[in-house]
Amino acid sequence: MTISFILNGEDVNAKVGSVDRLSDILRDSFGLLGVRSDCRCGRCGRCLIFLNGRLVPSCIVPAFSARGKEVITIEGFAQTDDYIDISSGFMDAGVVTCGFCEASKILVAAALLERNPRPDADEIIRHMSSAPCRCTDPESIVKAVQAVAERRARRIYRRAGQ
């Protein structure tokens, strides 16, 4: 079947089969390689995307269920101010990732800050656990997300003042 949905802000169509995973369609049909598809059971968090604003592992989302919805991948999210806040905050806090989990960590941080603009350390740790990886130490990720929250709050405040 052919489905239509909004992908990173653009209306797109895709031909999908009944057993196709959304992650595969995003990678193979649209070349969005920031969506990794490693565990294929929703555990590793490398294929996270925003589906209608909710963070979901796209490897366990049937492709046809994206019909009429809005999908944002890391490539689309990278065009936003939030992305700049998060990626620069991570860099400033010295977060070193293996490179493979970075996109999922950024998206998890974005989802968390959307829900709670001032999360405490426990909440950060709890959320970041959904993108498990051996590469990142918890202390630096907490510092990084708290720094991002500050930076983001200042930006929103400045914008509101304009």
Binding site: C39, C98, I125, R126, D137
Partner: protein, 675 residues
Amino acid sequence: MLSVATVRSPVARGSVRSIAFPKLPAGYRSILPADIPGRNRIVSFGAEVPILAQDAVSYVGEPVALIAGPDPIRLEELVAGTKVFYESEEPFVNWESFSSEQVAAKRVAISGDPELAFSIAGSVHEETYTSGAIEHYYSEPQGAVAAYDYDKIAVWCATQWPYHVRDSVALAIGCRAQEVSVRPTRLGIHLDGKLWYPSLLACQAAVASIACGRPAKIILTREEDFRYSPKRARSSVSIRSALGPSGELTALDVRIAINVGAYGPLAEEILSQAVLSCSGAYACPNIRIEAYAVITNTPPMGAFGGLGASHSLFAIEAHANRMAQATGEDPADWKSRNVLHKGSLLLTGEPLKEEPPYEALLARVSAASDYRRKYAGYELVRKRRSGRSDGPLRGIGLALAYQGAGPFLSVEASNSYTVEATLDKDLLVRILTSAAGGAGGVMEVWRRSAADILGVGIEKVSVASPDTDQVPDSGPSTLSRNVSVVNRLVERACESVQKRRFRDPLPLTARSVYRVPKPIKWEGGQVSGAPFDTVAWACAVVELELDAWTLEPRMLGVWLCVDGGKVVAPDRAASSLRSSVADALGACLVERFDPSADAEGSAYFRYGLLPMQKLPPISIEFLEPSGREAVKGIGELPFDTVPAAFLSALAQAADSPFSSLPVTAAAILKPLEST
């Protein structure tokens, strides 16, 4: 590009009679061992692993054939429709007791007169310490791509050892090594899990590419990677120790068995490192060691955050805590009395060159963790406790260990490793090495070293992509070698450039070559040679509270103090060590599976890392270097210290000794039930 899927052995041990493929559509082709144009073997540290098993199979999931074709999903169906006819044999599962045909490597070492020491010992203590298999759990599954690039075959894969990939592919396709170009891709976190296995996949991809005349890629699914790629080898270390009348360590009798799975590709190296580290940080005049690398019919097992030393260091440190307990001493005091000193003879007969900074490490870590007061307090509570509901079950444990770094112990001395540095006219520095930086910030260490020596900004220093056509052979990149060997080569090359800098015109290029100084020799129980170039030390304290009813150890804190010589990037190093401490705690608590009992593959769905929310505050400190010390490898120290400190803390909390990792709720329940 064609995808390649693997047909795997359904049995753990047996012989393949025939393989019946379903009717392959046009554009698809099967590849059998007979299609390999060169040698159907890769060689790793002296052991040989077949690229495709031809007659005998040695583990469930061993590759026996490949199918190449354009559609990966169709390939999955074709592999599922392929039937492998076999004759199965009884697999080797046992490894703690084993038959002689299972021995892949053996080491015996004797120093002093252990028999006499045991006969006059004040007390003798005996225990067996086991540690389980650990999955590397890197984010990306392993894979390789191969394609012709004009007159060469080019291979892309994430590997710690690009020249091993090059030589293996050349042997497999029967060409000269210079006709293969390896272009390593991003390595990520490898924890020594990508030493030799990428070479196997690269050979399979190259063979498929040549057979089909098109570029070919083989990418394991995460489940395949989990089930069939190497894991940390399991080990069992039995220690019998003799103490003198005042509690000093007088003799050790150690038996080590390491389950290296099928073929034992790293068996020699793992065993050598395990034996040489087996007395840990302690001076012991009489030692007898018998060590075996044991073949079983599980996927090949190997390294994890170091090769073999952590098996022994964990065991001896856990045993040291137990000996201290038996003498009624605070383990810190017992260790203080028995620790190695400058000039103490090592197993190889070499004297220790530097005084271990044990007292300084202990002072720092004790002050940070309040170890001595807590230990005494928890001991008092433990002795007075009437049952598990009587007060908090708390414990604190301390462990001391070292990380020796240097050349591989089982590679011939003729092997030399090279790094090249170039300073060009724009004062840009380029470092050429085949060593892979991974994700641990090692590249920053190399860049800073070069920048300091040449007096340029770090932003002017770059590390070239480790393409074998462009860079010299710098040997395999393991956690410690990258710092201890490769960084030293970077420094030497840059120093050589600096000497000529104002004498000769730019650009200037210098090469630095490392040759194994004095290889280890094993002859009739006598070991000789210099095992390590540099030794880094660490002391760890772990504090925990045991929930008496859920049996869950709740970690309260981990403190690690490290003597790592000159620490080039302290923040990066501390962050990396914190991650490793988290991994070491995971190995103590949750990372468990038995590869020999996972034929149906369900462990993949159960296996996971320790969730971040269960991690305690982790404090990392570095001792300030005294004078101009070298940069030392420190990445393995958490794996060498934290598990033993954890077991010691748990033993105090549960008032019962533990000797196996990971610790299960059943193991904790047993002693608590009796109280």
